[in-house]
Amino acid sequence: MALEGDVGAGLIAIGAGLAVGLTGLGAGMAEKDVGAAAVGAITEDQSLFGKAMIFMVLPETIVIFGLVIAILGIFVM
């Protein structure tokens, strides 16, 4: 199949992919540690679930930022 479209669109797509992928990796690395500690804490004391969950999902925001950038890249630029 021959290449279609312009190079710019392709670069934007690559950029969007990188934005989501790399932030996903980052969030994963951060959540790995938090999650392990959170599960440990919950095992000791069930009532910590709420607090543990809050800490657990904090790094998720990173990937949301990446997603916003990706969407802006694809649909707005």
Binding site: F49, G50, K51, M53, I54, V57, L58, E60, T61, I64, F65, L67, V68, I71, L72, I74, F75, V76
Partner: protein, 691 residues
Amino acid sequence: MSLPESMSRIVIVGTKSHMDEAIDALYSVEAIHLIDHTVDADEGFSLGTPRPYSPKASERLLKVRAMEKELGITKHVKAESVPEDEIKSQISSDSVELVEKEVLSVLDKRNDLNQRITELNATKRNLELLSDIPVDLELYSGYRSIFGVVGTVAEDPTAALSGINCEIFSSFNKKKGNVIAVFAKVEDKDAVLGILSENGFSEISVPEETGSAASALAKTDRDLTASTAELESVEKEIESLLEKHKSFLKASEEELSIEVQKGEIPVRIANSEYTFVIDAWVPTSKVESVKTEIESKVAGAYVEVEETRGRSMKEVEEAEDRFKDAPTKFNNGKVVKEFQYPTKLVSVPKYQEIDPSILIAIFLPMFFGLMVGDVGYAIPFIILGAYGLKVTKHKDWRAIATVLFFGGIWAFIFGLFFFGECLGMHFIGAYHADGGHLLEVEYCWSMLLGVDNLPSIFEGILPYGTGVGKLFHVGFLLKLSVYIGVVHLLIGYICALYNKTIQHGFKHGFMEKGGWIFGFIGLVVLCYGLAMFLIYGTEMSEVLPFIIVGAVLIVIEVVMNIKHEGIQAILELPGIVGNILSYTRLAAIGMSKAGMALAFNYIALGMVGGVEAGATLGESFSIMLIIGFLLFAFLHLMIWTLAILSAGLHGLRLQMVELMAKFFEGGGIEYNPLKIKRKQTVSNKKATKEV
């Protein structure tokens, strides 16, 4: 706003001779949150001792629990409930002891039999080994000048023993083991045993029987069978005992634990020589009824209302230590009550703050619905949620069922009127005409069903003519979710201001939390201006007012907060932007599900429709059709299951992390009134009512 119910502190005074009546009355009003008396809190008062009936009840409770454990009565075993009076009279006529005697005798029998079977099995093993040696059992011992040993060895010691004058019987068998019997002179005993132990000897004790090992083995086998049969009959006996006594045991356990609980009350209250004093929290609305009931039921008792606690923190500071914290009684209706669970996951609200359950009840199902946004997924959610609410009693499952039910309703509404979507396909399709790219052929319900008048029904109802496309109107959804975030967070900041106002007065509250409201609005306006300029390329002159107003509001925030928050007043600002952007997950999760559904629909429907287009109706057609539909069902089930996890958890997260962090402090004590919960026994009140 939903604050916890107002509480009043009361003091109940009475004479010790009426203590039992008083304890019964405390339990029957079901509104007394006892404040534990602390040693030396009041001069002349001390902690009491348990009621006289308490030790006996504890002892019986212990017996009952031991029996339940032995008989295998767990909480899952169902038993009929027993009237309260009946169980009480049974307990007082020593039924517990009688049942214990009966149960113990059978249990002892079982233990004896078990032990006997273990012994017989050991003997059997030995005899099996001995049966390979052609020596009668009584011949192994009873000599004066010679001795005999028999046992298993790892290796053959015959060669090593050849130097000693002895007689050897042996049987070497890989499966059963190597058995050897040695008879030698007593003076050679040490030498023989030394050689044997070098070869891994382990002695077998010879049973005190006569005749050949084989006949003894047969006898042991007979004994074993008899004992096993006996054990079986005992097991059956135990089972019949379980059936016979389970309802008595369960009921008496409940009754006795209630008695023990009641008997311990004096330990929690203040006692003098002749009187007792009880401090307690009671919901303000119930104070009068509690007062009349207790004063009428207990002779010589007097109830006085000490205070009705307001929400101001000043009252807390002025109160004595043990009266500082009023308990939190959730003040919610039937529906919102089900949403207390997520609140409690974080913490129980303080008495002086808004209970966020009502906000969660509004927003959590709404967010869930927005993220799912599909009629086809919504209906199973509603059915499953309704079924769960009807069937389950466990609070965890009820909480999940509640979210599924109300979330499902929202998903249905959004799916029908906003997205116009069912199972990832729009009702009416072909909107790719106005945008242009991405989709070549679009599956939609009007096309699949071959109905042409669907568009005319939906036209005018759905935004964008065909409904919002989750993968198509991304910009719009993104903006929408950001706006939802702004509103949601603003509610959070207003709640914070309200909390501080009722706790410390408006001035203090405004100085502490008002700044953040300015800062938040300022940031939103500033970001709006910047976004218009940077992304949409609006002229600077047009967006300048936004930027200026935003900047001014932020400066006000910093000035107001810098004194008591320090550098945080500035450092928090990017965090707020993060909080707002965090709401874009509302759009993102909808998108991810729509993406999956799109791909799956193309695969599954392509299978069905694609072959149909091939047009040769035959075997291959029907197989592909079936596979296609199975695939369709399976793949959508997968998306649906993922929706529970992603939409449910992310919806909850937005409440807990973004919203509640803005105002919720928690750490309250939950209102826990003295109350008798009966499951296995029927209380007198209820029994008389039914008659």
